[in-house]
Each structure stands twice: as C-alpha cells, then as structure tokens.
C-alpha cells in the first residue's frame, strides 16, 4: 500500500507541475492578448514605470558602483602577477556588460520591484478589488496586470544598462584614480575588446528577457495566490525564489548561445 501511495505522490507532483506550467502559459498569452487594450492607456504604463523603475534607481546605482569598484580591486589583484593590469578596463567592462549587469540587476529587481508587485496584486485579490473590477466589466488583467508587466519589461533593460555604466565608472574610480592604472590604457583596452554588437547589445537582450521573466513571475504569483494573508506572504517569497532561479537558468542558456565562439 505504501508503495502505491508513493507512486501516486510522484504522479500527482508531475500532474500538478504540468498543470501549473500550462496555467502560466495561458496567463502569459492572456497578458499578451490584452496588451493592445492596455497600450491605449499609456498613462497607466508610465505611472507603473515610475513606481517600478524610478524608485529602483538608487539601489541599482549604488549596487552598480560597488560591484564595479570590487571588480576593479579584485581584477587588479589577479592581473598584477602577469603584468597585465592594463587589461583591467577590459575585465571590468566585459564582466559587467555581459553578465553582472543584467544578472545582478535582475536579482535586485526581483527583490525590489517583483516582491512589491506580488504583494500588491495579492492584496488586491485578497481584498476582492479584482473581483469588484470584473463586476464593473473592467478586465483586471488589462487594467491592473498588463500595465505593470510592460512597465517591468521597459524598466529592466534601462536599469541594467545604468548598472553596467555606473559599474564601469566604479571600476575606473578604483582602478585608475585609487590604484593608479594608466588611464589611457584602461579605456583603450576596454574599447579594443568590448564589441558594441556582440557584448553591449547581447547584454541588453539578456536584461530584456530577464525583465519579462521576473515581472511575469511576480504578477503570476500575485494573481494566483490564495486570498489569505499567509499565502500572499508565501507568494512573495515564491516570487523571489522562482524569479532568481529563472534568471540563473536563462542566463546560462543565453550565455551558451551568445558567447560560444
């Protein structure tokens, strides 16, 4: 009997897993389907971009600056034994533009903006505000979720680009101003080895994909949370965990595709 229970449990997990993937896919296409309607009110998207993007600026800029400065220090320590500290600019810029910029921004974004989106949507659902909207023949997916989704998708690449740029400045501050790597070599090595198309643009594409993944996860968790205080708080946790795991997985796949030369 125990064995049968055990096999049944495996079956149930599998069934629930497939069902939730299907659920999420339907929700995603639902979001895309109502997008033309949501685009007719750009004011809502702008308002949400202000909430998601502008308010995340401080943490993104501070984190970018410190990540860049630490890269400058560590890169210098690693490169000096080979007499290659001239390459510091390249190391800092490439690691930021290709990986750290998009990934760290996406993780911070999940913690800073994703959680607030989940909590907001979850509470609106728990307070039956979404049901009330439906009563008034307003589609809550179009009115509430789609503007937040597009705001996240717009804000994320902007934030990641700012993160990388500030990080390069941080690396410059530590490497050139503090340690004294030659300024000309720092910038010229960077320019000689960072390709606009292959590195900068691929980084932006990465952050765009992360923006979709993180914002969608946050909205999905909020919208499908049980309308109780416990489950809204659990949904917020799930947002961070699932969004972070998705970012790592997607990053690995995209890196493998983009930089496999």
């Amino acid at each position: 009997m125990i064995v049968i229970d055990w096999i049944a449990a495996i079956g149930r997990y599998l069934r629930e897993g497939i069902a939730s993937v299907g659920f999420a896919t339907r929700f995603f296409f639902n979001l895309l389907a109502v997008t033309p309607g949501a685009m007719r009110r750009p004011g809502l998207i702008s308002e949400q971009t202000h909430f998601i993007g502008n308010y995340s600026l401080v943490i993104i800029i501070v984190s970018g600056l410190f990540v860049g400065m630490v890269l400058g220090l560590q890169g210098y320590i690693t490169l000096t034994p080979y007499g290659a500290e001239q390459k510091l600019g390249q190391v800092v810029a490439l690691s930021l533009v290709r990986e750290l910029g998009p990934v760290v921004t996406a993780l911070l974004f999940a913690g800073r903006a994703g959680t607030s989106l989940t909590a907001q949507i979850g509470l609106m659902k728990a307070g039956e505000q979404l049901s009330a909207m439906e009563m008034m023949a307003i589609n809550p997916v179009q009115r509430v979720l789609a503007p937040r989704f597009w705001a996240g998708v717009i804000a994320m690449p902007v934030l990641a680009t700012i993160f990388s740029a500030v990080g390069v400045l941080g690396g410059y501050l530590v490497g050139v101003k503090l340690i004294g790597v030659d300024e000309g070599a720092f910038w010229s090595q960077m320019q000689a080895n960072v390709d606009v198309q292959a590195d900068v643009m691929n980084g932006v594409i990465k952050s765009f994909v992360f923006g979709i993944a993180v914002t969608f996860t946050a909205l999905f968790q909020g919208y499908h949370a049980q309308p109780t205080p416990e489950d809204v708080s659990r949904a917020t946790t799930r947002t961070v965990v699932i969004a972070s795991l998705m970012v790592w997985g997607l990053d690995f796949v995209m890196t493998a595709i983009m930089f496999n030369k």
């Binding site: 004011g43 702008s46 308002e47 971009t49 202000h50 993007g53 502008n54 600026l57 600019g89 810029a93 533009v97 717009i154 804000a155 690449p157 902007v158 934030l159 680009t161 700012i162 990388s164 740029a165 500030v166 390069v168 910038w187 960077m190 320019q191 000689a192 960072v194 390709d195 606009v196 590195d199 900068v200 932006v204």
Partner: protein, 158 residues
C-alpha cells in the same frame, strides 16, 4: 498636474538609460573606432592565418587603415582567402605586401601592410600576391628544439 510630473520623471528615467547605453557604446565599446566610411575590397591568400579573426585591424606603420572582412578556406589551393576592407582615403601601390603580425607576445593578431614601389594603386577587387603567414609559436619552439638537438648530436659525434 500629477500625471504630468510622473511622465517627466519616467522620461528622465528612460533618457538616463539611453545615456548609459551611449556611454557603454562610445566610451567602453568600440563604436567610436568602427569606421562607417567608404571602403574598397582587396583579397589575399595566406598559407596560415594563425588566430586572425574577422574585424581585426589592418595596419600600416602602426596606423589602422582598414579591417579584415571575412575569412574563407579555398579548397583548390588549400589556403585561407582573406578579404580586406581598406578605407577609401588610403591608397597603396599594387605590389604592396601583407604580413600577419601579433600585438605583443600573446596579443591579438592583425595584418600589417607594407607599401611597394609600383606607380599604380590597388583598386577594388584586386588581389595582393605577396603575403607572409602568421608565426605559429609551436613551430618556433619546434625549430628551436630541433636546432638544439642537432647541436647536441654534433658534439656527441666529435
């Protein structure tokens, strides 16, 4: 009024992102060194191009005068067929020669072009006949080891 101030802040946010992208492209990236000017194409065959890559610089007297276009393999002569994009402003004699060089000991490879003495200049579609292959480090080490071994044999036979 409130709506408008929000829009202004969002506009500033997006502009800040664009400024950051511009900074990455121009100051950190190679956008400023890419030339969008007119170019003319020259081909050349090399026995061995080593680690030469597309977009590598073509230099004369240390100055970048063009870039490597694409690199193909010619299965008739078993040589590498390299297309070079020279900037239209620079003219070189028809009998100029090409050399694959390395920047520093372990640096990137590039092509050096040395001007010849012909009075006619290269035009679009010309082929440069005189080329010198890349120096492969392993070959150098091999030659060194063989010559050392040969010296050793001589001494033993004495």
């Amino acid at each position: 009024m409130h709506r408008k101030s929000v829009d202004v802040w969002v506009g500033l946010f997006v502009l800040l992102g664009l400024a950051a992208l511009l900074f990455l492209a121009l100051k950190a990236g190679n956008m400023s060194t890419l030339s969008f000017g007119k170019t003319y194409l020259i081909t050349a065959k090399f026995d061995n191009i080593g680690g030469l890559k597309p977009q590598a610089p073509l230099k004369s007297a240390g100055v970048v005068v063009g870039r490597v276009g694409d690199i193909k393999f010619d299965d008739k002569t078993f040589q590498a067929l390299v297309t070079l994009e020279l900037e239209a402003g620079y003219k070189f004699p028809k009998d100029s020669s090409l050399k694959i060089l390395t920047a520093g000991l372990l640096g990137e490879q590039y092509i050096g072009i040395e001007a010849g003495g012909d009075t006619n200049n290269l035009v679009n579609g010309d082929r440069i006949a005189r080329t010198q292959s890349a120096t492969v480090l392993e070959d150098l080490i091999n030659q060194f080891i063989y010559s050392k071994a040969a010296e050793g044999n001589k001494e033993e036979s004495k």
